[in-house]
Assembly symmetry: C2
Homo-oligomer: 334 residues x 2
């Protein structure tokens, strides 16, 4: 009754952008699940910027993926065979499954979820998964925006950024999104409801910030680092908070990463810059879902999903996240 | 009854280290004070790293000193002639007097103080002036060290740093001071009571930090920025706090200032970096003095003062602060 499966293994540490030859698909045979185990068929794999950090030898909140190991990834799937009564066949589950088509898991390492209240199952990886939790707790716990404050978010059309725009609007902020290209900027304003969007590919970000944030930036939710972070540092309001969520502009840098040269403005602005990691908030998932679900139901919180198909497409899907070719939450469908 | 006086005017914006020709001594005649005014004889002028920022066109918490204006400075002096009954002759006063020998002031711009409880009057510029308030509130309000935590401070033999070392010890921290040269490092450990000192001129700071802070750095009080900040960022403990007090290594930089390239470690450490400005705490001066005075009386909080004489020495005294030639709080005696 054992079944064959395929997984994507990391076989080289990328220099710069990850490429196909950094990975290798390997086949194996899965045994039947033993007592307390289940066999999961993976349905959707989450593609996230942080994966680039896990692929390097950099110190991070998790150890690097070892060469030869299956590439680490959050994913959702369905229990196909069960040797654990609490997780019958057909149960939807999420976990750090890695980039693979199916796997045997200890039942206790899985989080079962009910897709019924979600627009579709993929939302368990976007707004109701790590992506949404990142946006929600980064805002609530680190940025702490007050109604009427001005919030700026980079990668505003991206998975986390688009959630930040919408949640911040629900919290009563004036929201300015930074994104690349007219199509994404239109989306940020027209679909997500931002007050303004700045197209960093065409506009001088500093001048646009001056125009749109005459009183300065109260909260900056930073997904990119680099030059945009440095520019926002020049326009901080008194007691501003910078939420350090990621530094996508730096993850593929092959030289010394670029530090924010204007960081001393944190002194004159009495401002702070603070990092966080979403895994610290997993046990508060229910709180975030309870807050977001009504917004989803009333159409005020949307999630756009960009789907690639098959584990062989994973390397390209990951590249798209860094080149900005994706539009919305990037997933790989199995 | 009018009297002649001299003041040091800023006549050029320095490039790199300030030099004598950036200033000019000008003489003038002071009239008698009018109603509500006093004539103050300045006794001691505070020499602070932040002055370098005020001399530039950089945005800061105060506007730049205009070319031709008297150089801005905190100072203490004695009322010599009074037309304000609340401030009789002989009263010690402090204020932003600038680098000058005497001046006419509105009485309400002055803070009178009683030097009797102080070891000597100069302490009103060091531990019981902006320097001490900077150390105290930077620690208490921004760094918030807990007993048993590991605190690292740069410029540990300097005016603010030496106060930070001693206050942090009183708060129950393990304290590691970073300073330049054996004499200063000996002072930091033997006189100030730090647990360890790191001589950045001789040691590899990263290796010494690893040795002295095996559990990582909980609080870093940063007076210098640059390479040392970048090194400490590599060794942060979970939920570390970086108190951004100053960036003395960057103030004289003529090129692009150096940003902390390792700032993304704030994410994996869930850490924050926060700036503050001492002028926000002036109305809490009494609170700081009440906390520090018992430590001073019991000999647990000391202040070393480095004195230059005469306003003509100010430019050299300011340079000494940047080259590390001074030892303790730098003042100019009139």
């Amino acid at each position: 009754m054992s079944e064959p499966t395929r997984a994507l293994h990391l076989v080289a540490r990328p220099e710069g952008l990850p490429k196909e030859s950094d990975f290798e698909i390997r086949e194996s045979i899965l045994p039947d699940p033993e007592k307390g185990q289940v066999l999961v068929h993976v349905r959707y794999i989450s593609v996230d910027p942080a994966m680039r950090v896990w692929m390097s030898v950099q110190k991070s909140y998790w150890p690097p993926v070892e060469l030869g190991d299956v590439m680490r990834a959050a994913a959702i799937g369905v229990v196909h065979k069960s040797a654990e009564p609490a997780l019958p066949e057909g149960t939807w589950v999420s976990g750090m499954f890695g980039v693979r088509e199916s796997l045997i898991c200890d039942a206790k390492s899985l989080r079962p979820f009910d897709p019924a209240p979600l627009p579709d199952e993929r939302w368990a990886l976007s707004l109701f998964g790590g992506t949404g939790l990142t946006a929600y707790f980064g805002l609530i716990d680190i940025g702490r925006p007050q109604p009427g404050e001005t919030l700026v978010v980079s990668s505003a059309a991206g998975a986390v950024g688009s959630a930040v725009v919408q949640i911040a609007k629900q919290l009563g902020c004036r929201v300015i999104g930074i994104a690349g290209g007219k199509e994404k900027c239109d989306y940020v304003v027209e679909e997500l409801g931002a007050d303004e969007a700045i197209d960093y590919k065409r506009e001088k970000v500093d001048e646009s910030l001056r125009l749109y944030c005459p009183q300065g930036v109260d909260v900056y939710f930073d997904n990119v680092g680099g030059e945009i972070l440095d520019t926002v540092l020049r326009r901080l309001a008194r007691r501003a908070r910078i939420v350090l969520c990621g530094g996508i502009s730096q993850y593929n840098a092959t030289g010394e990463p670029r530090g924010p040269a204007n960081y001393l403005n944190l002194i004159s602005a009495r401002a702070r810059m603070e990092g966080f990691v979403v895994i610290d908030y997993l046990d508060r998932t229910d709180e975030a879902i309870a807050a977001m679900l009504p917004w989803v139901r009333s159409g005020k919180l949307r999630s756009r999903i960009d789907e690639a198909i098959g584990i062989a497409e994973f390397p390209l899907a990951l590249r798209r996240v860094f080149t900005g070719a994706n539009f919305g939450k990037q997933v790989v469908k199995i």
